[in-house]
Point group: C2
Chain length 466, copies 2
Amino acid sequence: MTQVHITDTILRDAHQSLIATRLRTEDMIPACERLDRAGYWSLEVWGGATFDACLRFLKEDPWERLRKLREALPNTRLQMLLRGQNLLGYRHYADDVVRDFVACAAGNGIDVFRIFDALNDLRNVKTAIEAVKHAGKHAQGAISYTQSPVHTVEQFVRQAKQLRKLGCDSLVVKDMAGLLTPFNTAELFAALTDAVDCPVHLHTHATSGQAEMCHLKAIENGCRHIDTAISAFAGGTSHAPTEAMVAALANTPYDTGLDLGLIQEIGFYFREVRKKYHQFESEYTGVDTRVLSSQLPGGMISNLVNQLREQGALDRFGAVLAEIPRVREDLGYPPLVTPSSQIVGTQAVLNVITGERYKTITNEVKMYFQGRYGRAPGRVNPVVRRQAIGNQETITQRPADLLPPEMDRLRREAGEFAHTEEDVLTVAMFPEIGAEFLKQRAESTLQPEPLLPPAPPQREAAAPRA
Amino acid sequence: MTQVHITDTILRDAHQSLIATRLRTEDMIPACERLDRAGYWSLEVWGGATFDACLRFLKEDPWERLRKLREALPNTRLQMLLRGQNLLGYRHYADDVVRDFVACAAGNGIDVFRIFDALNDLRNVKTAIEAVKHAGKHAQGAISYTQSPVHTVEQFVRQAKQLRKLGCDSLVVKDMAGLLTPFNTAELFAALTDAVDCPVHLHTHATSGQAEMCHLKAIENGCRHIDTAISAFAGGTSHAPTEAMVAALANTPYDTGLDLGLIQEIGFYFREVRKKYHQFESEYTGVDTRVLSSQLPGGMISNLVNQLREQGALDRFGAVLAEIPRVREDLGYPPLVTPSSQIVGTQAVLNVITGERYKTITNEVKMYFQGRYGRAPGRVNPVVRRQAIGNQETITQRPADLLPPEMDRLRREAGEFAHTEEDVLTVAMFPEIGAEFLKQRAESTLQPEPLLPPAPPQREAAAPRA
Ligand SMILES: [Co+2]
Ligand SMILES: [Co+2]
């Protein structure tokens, strides 16, 4: 039982991290025969920003993509990332929507649901886990990894045990920003794999150049499932390269059993594919160890830069970077992942630009203090709390308990172009762009955003012998 | 004594590996104040292909570069890579040239001499080691790492002990192709650090994505000195990123003591610098695990492609790749590094293109069988040997023993434009381009190869929230 199993993120997180989620289904399908033969534990194919990008930029029906991938990958588990009670949208949905969405995703081909909550409030993942088990699928509970005075190994172990009790078939440490270093990974996995009787996967990003080392130390401490990306879309803000990890473990007790030659071929295919998307390459995707001190995920830094540029305040970037950890502390140390990364980032910008901390307070921060996103991980700053919401009580129930069933309403409001339950869910997730998509589909006017012509090929430079 | 020390290759191997050795002194100097403050064990600044590239492409006097770096880096050990009896050229030199070259390099600023021989024939590094000790400098003996039936851990341990006996102050495992994987690194370093009473450095390349993991396992097995490259020129055919390794080891018993903030600044500087050299970027510098089976260093693959293209035989590339290990076996498994990589590669091309193995045999292969490069690591194929050199005896003495002193002759032949001993050595290393360089210098007509104008900046693509 020491074999290591691989989840490849090439069809989801890898291109989300490196080319703004733009990989098209037409470029996935030709690789599927080989991907399906390679022997992966699973392929992550859906969720995160893919649903959004399909509707907004690629003008692809995300459900249709899922069905095509299911057909092209008959022998491999298909995996998705689900934001707990947020599903794939940016608000809390009522439980009936969660159940309906999970049933539809399962029905269209998802085998493994990775479920997380930005605050690690397990009340926000409970309904989704139940729905996955009801659909007879694999429920994977995620620990949103972060570092703070209240995020101790003991706390993560408690969370792991609770997720297991909620019915999860496996767990994952979801290190979305790439904060783990090899020796703290070793400590964390030793504790987690000792505490729970199910597999604990590792999902980490290569942003600060630690991913391969973290995988290695996790494996030496009981981890048997790691997330990697085919080398053509690996490294930097993406993941460790699949080929490298397969080669590192080959002929050891941890051998993955994957055929290196076959996955190399997949890598060469995607190397060519990537050229087609050169307009989405960013220079902010290389190794950057600043994340280890700032804790900011890659996407958040470029968001901040854009916000500041719009307000002509780019010179305050350093001040905002310094303000973010203070706002995070005031909010009781939420992990920085959607939506908390935006909540913290926007308030930090305001605190700097207005010249007075919390002079202006966003609605999201008010809702946060009201408990409408869930429970803060640590103690919130009572002074800031009073500034934000006065003497209002914080709600103590599960936020979704305040939401009446809404599927009937959503079905009614989905409009004339929604023909299926999947269409209704599309509009439910993205009311404006979802409805617009369905309308254009009906009118046959869907137009994916254009791709620029190929960049000229690079020459080999004459080199002295070395 | 568990602190880990760093040698940064940013000024030598990193740009040699990624932009064909083109980094100019003018782009090095502005980083030197910070590099000198960072607390590196050493900076690799000279040797390998830098001497050649300075003369051939950059029209810089390599000795002048060394003196400028020495002045700008007063507090840090400067390190060079020396090809044993080949020095920085492509033939064996007589002992008096070796002694003179080492004395001049030491006099101009080199503190640490890393000395290797392509065949690991220690007779080819002996004079250089003695000369370094005579100059009062640090002699580092290299093990050219390769994998074959005759390259066992025991054999490498024997070589390490012999290098130590020859007077080396430290040793290095020089894995020029990036063949090491973490678990064989662990085994090798456990044995080496147990067997010798001096530091054993690790120099490996990130070609196949193993470098960070190899460093980690080496460190856990007694290694205290690793070679890295500032992130802007790290990864792929270069080395593990300095910032990543410093961060990985921070706050552990292996803490490097380097200031992460300071080396991040150096990284941002070189990130900008790299853009200037975009014309030398190659698409063959990413992670490629094929090297683990082919054993071909990155530079060798592009050389082979060029050779085959010139002969209109690119379609035989696969056949040549298959032939290389067979030629290498016939030659007794030389490590593939200059000059053995060229010797093996060119013969493999001939064996494929002529349609008959060893129908045509290169002069270099004949010299190899004559023993003129030194002793083959393993048993050579006697049939091929007879085809190459008939019944001629193999020389059994050290190849340089056949060479009479030659400095006097080199001084006479260096020409009117050679004013110093350094100039004489420049012509000795590179007779044609060295003499041409000195002539142009005298005529003030030195013209570095032109750089293309900057590439247009990359835009940030609009991204959905993730
Ligand atoms: Co991720
Ligand atoms: Co090297």
